[in-house]
């Protein structure tokens, strides 16, 4: 057999409690393959606090500290400080939170930690809603989506929050988006993050077949199409928020195909779909302008 495409050692075991086709589990498996066994996790309330398994069992072979929904970044900061006091500089501390726990309730702890440039990795696995409690909208839920709190004609009318901009505005050393459909890229980004000191923010797109009304077998395929339709661009921001890099080396696919495979978008009319697609194109152009350095962003000069 050829050399393996991704590292062989497994730090996540079978038997976990995720739904069929869960992207969040793939995200975790890849991330840990990149970071290795000297990793300590901080998990706020989210699907992953359930997926991992009931006490005294865990499907991860690294230590996990479960914490309150809003406290991932502050708990991780404390854990890192504690390890340092004990002379452990090797263990990397990673807060692993959902989009609700990151974009909404955890944002002040995250903003505080990033502003202090705490030496932690913060990973948001993004399934675009509060899935663990039954699919409520978050500020990461995309425009057009059905959730249990945006039902029927009340589908979400507001666009997804620009989390990468918010984190870039904190002038932290490393920010990247990644997708479970591109494991090599994801692993490379986590490896890079491991080598950097300071706050590193990773935003991983992780499809949720249950919450998206999506056939489970299509979850990776959706993650891929999210990238190729520019719904979820792969971006890297380095140099304390100054340098933006947008991945463009793909065959573009229509936003419509991406949306129509998922029940959560199926109510959208042609016109509404067009508006969604226009918003996505606008965001893409915006990212390209950030990459070109042509956007004027005050407050980033040091």
């Amino acid at each position: 057999m050829n050399a393996p495409k991704i590292p062989l050692p497994e730090l996540m075991t079978s038997g976990h409690l995720a739904c069929q086709g869960c992207g969040a589990t793939q995200a975790m498996r890849f991330a840990l393959k990149a970071l290795g066994p000297r990793t300590a996790l901080v998990l706020p309330a989210c699907c992953w606090s359930v997926i991992d398994g009931p006490f005294p069992h865990s499907s991860l072979k690294v230590p996990i500290l479960h914490t309150a929904f809003e406290a991932a970044a502050s708990t991780a900061s404390g854990l890192k400080a504690g390890l340092e006091m004990r002379g452990d500089t090797e263990t990397v501390v990673m807060a692993w939170a959902g989009d609700g726990g990151t974009f909404d309730i955890g944002i002040q702890a995250l903003s505080g930690a990033a502003e202090r440039n705490e030496d932690i990795i913060y990973c948001c696995y993004d399934n675009e809603a509060y899935m663990n409690t039954g699919i409520q909208r978050s500020s990461s839920t995309p425009i057009g989506a059905w959730t249990t709190t945006t039902p029927g004609v009340h589908w979400k009318k507001r666009p997804k929050k620009k989390m990468i901009d918010i984190m870039a505005a904190h002038s932290i050393p490393y920010i990247a988006t990644a997708s479970v459909a591109y494991p090599n890229d994801l692993i490379e980004k986590f490896r890079k993050a491991r080598e950097i000191k300071g706050t590193r923010f990773l935003h991983v797109f992780a499809p949720c077949p249950t919450g998206w009304k999506l056939a489970p077998e299509l979850s990776v395929s959706m993650a891929r199409q999210a990238v190729t339709s520019k719904v979820f661009p792969l971006v890297e921001v380095t140099d304390n928020g100054r340098t933006w890099k947008v991945w463009k080396d793909f065959e573009p696919t229509p936003v419509k195909d991406y949306c129509m495979a998922q029940g959560r978008f199926r109510h959208l009319s042609e016109d509404e779909l067009r508006l969604v697609a226009e918003g996505i194109e606008e965001n893409w152009q915006y990212l390209l302008s950030r990459e070109a350095g042509s956007a004027f962003v005050p407050g980033l000069q040091h």
């Binding site: 050829n2 393996p4 495409k5 079978s14 479960h66 077998e217």
Partner: protein, 559 residues
């Protein structure tokens, strides 16, 4: 499978909520209602190849840089890849899945590279010893006979080839010119086959003249007849036997024998098959202006597409829907040939529309030489008394080349009429397999699995569009200056590049995707294969979709 921890009292609990074991006690396989399983299919190219070459497999071996193994795999189905890789009409490419994505894989170019590598590495062919006592006679040393001899000899049967000519090769030698198949390549192919096992060659031994079929039937345990087509069909026009008119095959034989030829400045070739194309191209090389006259249209031409294109490229002109009607010749100088204009009428038994005269319309051509190439036929005299025939051809039953006599088998053009090298090779191999089973009492093989796939089953997200890599060629003026081989073949880098384009349809090539993407870590990556762990597979089927090549199928649980 892990252990489940249950605490009998609080005293057994750790001082804080700390995990003590993993989750593998939890057999999530019970959630599954559909099961994925590895299920390799037959790639469409293989079904398109008359010799059923395992194209996917030898290309895969190439991508692993296992050149010798690739050659062995190829030789299992075709003992002359250096020949077919140069002259085959490649129906495999018509079936290639990649055709529906960008362009078909250049299968013959790959085949040729592997074959030539086998010729360059004589150590790869280890001579098979004679292990069987039954001897087999093979009559005819063209592709059909050589193939039959090879597969019998490889199985340990002593074989004697009876060939009427002074050398082996048949149409490969006397028909196909050197610019497509150089003699030295053919010589090495023939030598490799003859040296592959207990094969004795008797040249100058013609069936019906020097050897008798009934006698062979008595002396040998089995006989394979592959004598091809030895007679050119006559035009049926008054004056066709005479100065300025030559049979195309005779002309090719002279050219291929190295005889200088001078057909004059203006040449007409009548016919639309491979012979017509090669005659026209040889006449171009002898400096003539050449017009091919065919009685139907370009669409009905039986010649290989590549050959028609090459002929056009070399400046051969075509006139369609015309047939010679009369020939006028003086004591010397050019002939005047009158052609009847034709039109297409109702379809004939071949399904092609029959040409019929289009009223009185005619035209004339003044030519130094007119070659006739309207088809070849078999000479039934050497076998017609003993074997049941279908016209001049030997009548065979089924795919294994059985004739009306139990011990006599036949294949190649003498059984099918004018066909192709690869079909002759396939017929020779199949007859050899059948003869071997007859002599050893082996059972018939089980019907082969032919479940296949098409472009809808390929996950094209894993492939980038590109173009087929053409085989490099020498410039036109150099090509027309002599008989040098036109196509020079791939170098190693090109071979690898084209091999890498193959989808590996329906067969795992160890891309790792199923193992990588399984959310439940339920795919085990073993030494030389993958395995599903049904204790944990939840049946999400992500692996099925992410397998780029449809090597995984599904089955409902409980069914």
């Amino acid at each position: 499978m892990g252990e489940k921890i249950t605490f009998k009292s609080y005293k057994e609990m750790p001082i804080c909520a700390m995990s003590g074991a993993d989750m593998t006690y939890n057999l999530t396989g019970s959630w599954r209602n559909v099961r994925p399983y590895y299920d390799f299919k037959v790639s469409p190219c293989r079904l398109g190849c008359p010799a059923m070459e395992n194209i996917q497999r030898y290309i895969f071996l190439l991508t692993q840089e296992k050149y010798e193994e690739a050659w062995r795999e190829l030789m299992e189905a075709n003992p002359m890849p250096s020949v077919t890789g140069r002259v085959c009409f490649h129906p495999c490419m018509e079936k290639c899945t990649r055709k529906d994505f960008d362009q078909a894989i250049n299968i013959p170019a790959i085949e040729r590279s592997i074959g030539d590598r086998g010729l360059d590495n004589p150590g790869w062919m280890k001579k098979a010893p004679a292990t069987k006592k039954e001897t087999v006679a093979v009559v005819g040393g063209g592709p059909a006979g050589l193939s039959a001899a090879y597969y019998l000899a490889r199985r340990g049967y002593p074989v004697t080839i009876f060939e009427a000519d002074a050398v082996l090769g048949g149409t490969l030698r006397w028909g196909i010119p050197e610019y497509r198949l150089p003699n030295d390549v053919l010589d090495r192919v023939v030598a490799q086959i003859v040296g592959s096992g207990p094969i004795t060659v008797k040249t100058g031994a013609a069936l019906g003249r020097d050897v008798d079929l009934a006698k062979l039937e008595k002396e040998f345990a089995a006989v394979f007849v592959g004598v091809g087509l030895s007679r050119s069909r006559p035009l049926g026009v008054a004056g066709e036997e005479g100065r300025g008119i030559e049979r195309g095959l005779d002309f090719l034989r002279r050219v291929n024998g190295g005889e200088p030829v001078n057909p004059g400045r203006s040449v007409a070739v009548v016919g639309g098959g491979n012979t017509a194309m090669d005659v026209a191209r040889c006449a171009r090389r002898a400096g003539a202006e050449v017009t091919v006259v065919y009685r139907r249209t370009m669409n009905e031409m039986p010649a290989i597409k590549d050959e028609i294109e090459e002929a056009e490229h070399e400046g051969v002109r075509f006139r369609f829907l015309a047939a010679p009607k009369s020939i006028e010749r003086g004591a010397s100088g050019p002939l005047t040939v009158v052609f009847q204009q034709m039109k297409l009428g109702d379809p004939d038994e071949s399904g092609r529309r029959r040409p019929v005269p289009d009223g009185d319309a005619t035209f004339t051509l003044s030519v130094n030489t007119m070659f006739t190439a309207i088809g070849e036929e078999a000479d039934a005299a050497p076998f017609g008394k003993l074997l049941e025939c279908d016209g001049n051809l030997i009548a065979t039953k089924g795919e294994w080349g059985e004739t009306s006599r139990k011990k006599i088998f036949a294949g190649g053009d003498v059984a099918t009429g004018a066909a192709s090298v690869v079909e002759a090779v396939a017929a020779g191999r199949k007859a050899a397999e059948r003869i071997s089973r007859m002599l050893s009492g082996e059972p018939e093989p089980a019907a082969e699995e032919t479940g296949t796939i098409s472009i809808e089953n390929i996950n094209t997200a894993y492939f980038t569009k590109g173009k087929r890599l053409l085989v490099p060629r020498i410039p036109l003026d150099e090509a027309l200056a002599g008989y040098r081989e036109i196509h020079t073949g791939y170098d190693d880098r090109m071979l690898r590049r084209e091999a890498d384009r193959c989808f590996s349809c329906g067969v795992c090539n160890f891309c790792d995707n199923c193992w990588v993407f399984c959310p439940d870590v339920a795919v085990r990556r073993l030494e030389a294969e993958y395995e599903f762990d049904y204790d944990f597979c939840k049946g999400c089927l992500v692996c099925v979709i992410e397998c780029p090549r449809c090597a995984i199928s599904t089955r409902e649980e409980g069914k």
